[in-house]
């Protein structure tokens, strides 16, 4: 299989996102810049929660496509190919462009856009928790079923905050 720019990009993008996640985590927990009302609780602030979802997913990408808890690099595509009983990369027929087209538009474009819109559009801002919650199911179920610890289960286990969905019922959502 010939290597092209997508094969390089799939190795680089999680680390670029990981760097951005560190910046976002600093802004989220070290400042009040990403809050709608600086004096209120972060955990009930839909704008802050929207930006948090972005940071969570950028970190999630690091373990999926960067390095997992066992030190394996770019392990998630390999696991997908294995689950689908396809040859392991680089012979797997699923192109790197597929994984990039799933993650870059959604996490680098849509998620920040949704967070920016969250002040006036709470449902749009919190939409990312839907992906996180469904992803949690797919990542955690194999673990519970005894399939072992795969790539991206650590961030999904400890960073995805399924309780956020519960807490978001308490997020005030003024219209307009």
């Amino acid at each position: 299989m010939d290597r092209n720019w997508t094969d390089v990009a799939i190795v680089l993008f999680p680390w670029i996102g990981g760097g951005a996640a560190i910046v976002f985590l600093f802004l989220l927990f070290g400042t009040r810049l990403l809050q709608s009302e600086p004096g209120s609780s972060r955990w009930h602030d839909r704008v802050w929660l929207s930006w948090l979802a972005l940071a969570i997913y950028l970190l999630h990408n690091v373990e999926e496509y960067g390095i997992d808890v066992f030190g394996r690099m770019t392990q998630f595509p390999a696991e997908i190919c294995s689950v689908l009983k396809l040859p392991a990369p680089p012979d797997c027929p699923i192109p790197a462009a597929y994984f990039l087209s799933v993650n870059i538009p959604l996490i680098w474009v849509i998620a920040p856009l949704a967070a920016l819109l969250s002040r006036r559009h709470p449902l749009v801002g919190l939409a990312f928790y839907g992906v996180i919650f469904v992803n949690l199911f797919f990542h955690i179920m194999p673990l519970l079923a005894g399939a072992g610890f795969g790539p991206a289960r650590l961030p999904q286990s400890f960073c995805s905050y399924p309780f956020q969905l519960g807490s978001s019922t308490r997020v005030s959502a003024p219209v307009g």
Binding site: I110, L123, V124, F133, N135
Partner: protein
């Protein structure tokens, strides 16, 4: 925020994953090419933003009114 709004958020995540995996299966089975596979994922990202947007504006925003 109402439980209906939470259901929309969850439903949006499910739809996203269906469009994530459906075209991949079609690609593996040779029904679509690589460009179509990638194109569906760009469309998926746009749809992901569109669904909550529509849900939010549905009937004048009835779904996002705070639980009282």
């Amino acid at each position: 925020m109402s439980y209906t709004a939470l259901a929309i958020i969850f439903f949006n995540g499910v739809i996203f994953h269906i469009i994530l995996t459906g075209p991949l299966m079609l690609f593996i089975n040779g029904n679509i090419g690589g460009a179509a596979l990638v194109g569906t994922q760009f469309a998926n990202a746009v749809l992901f933003l569109l669904i909550p947007w529509v849900g939010e504006n549905w009937r004048g925003g009835v779904l996002i009114r705070p639980v009282t």
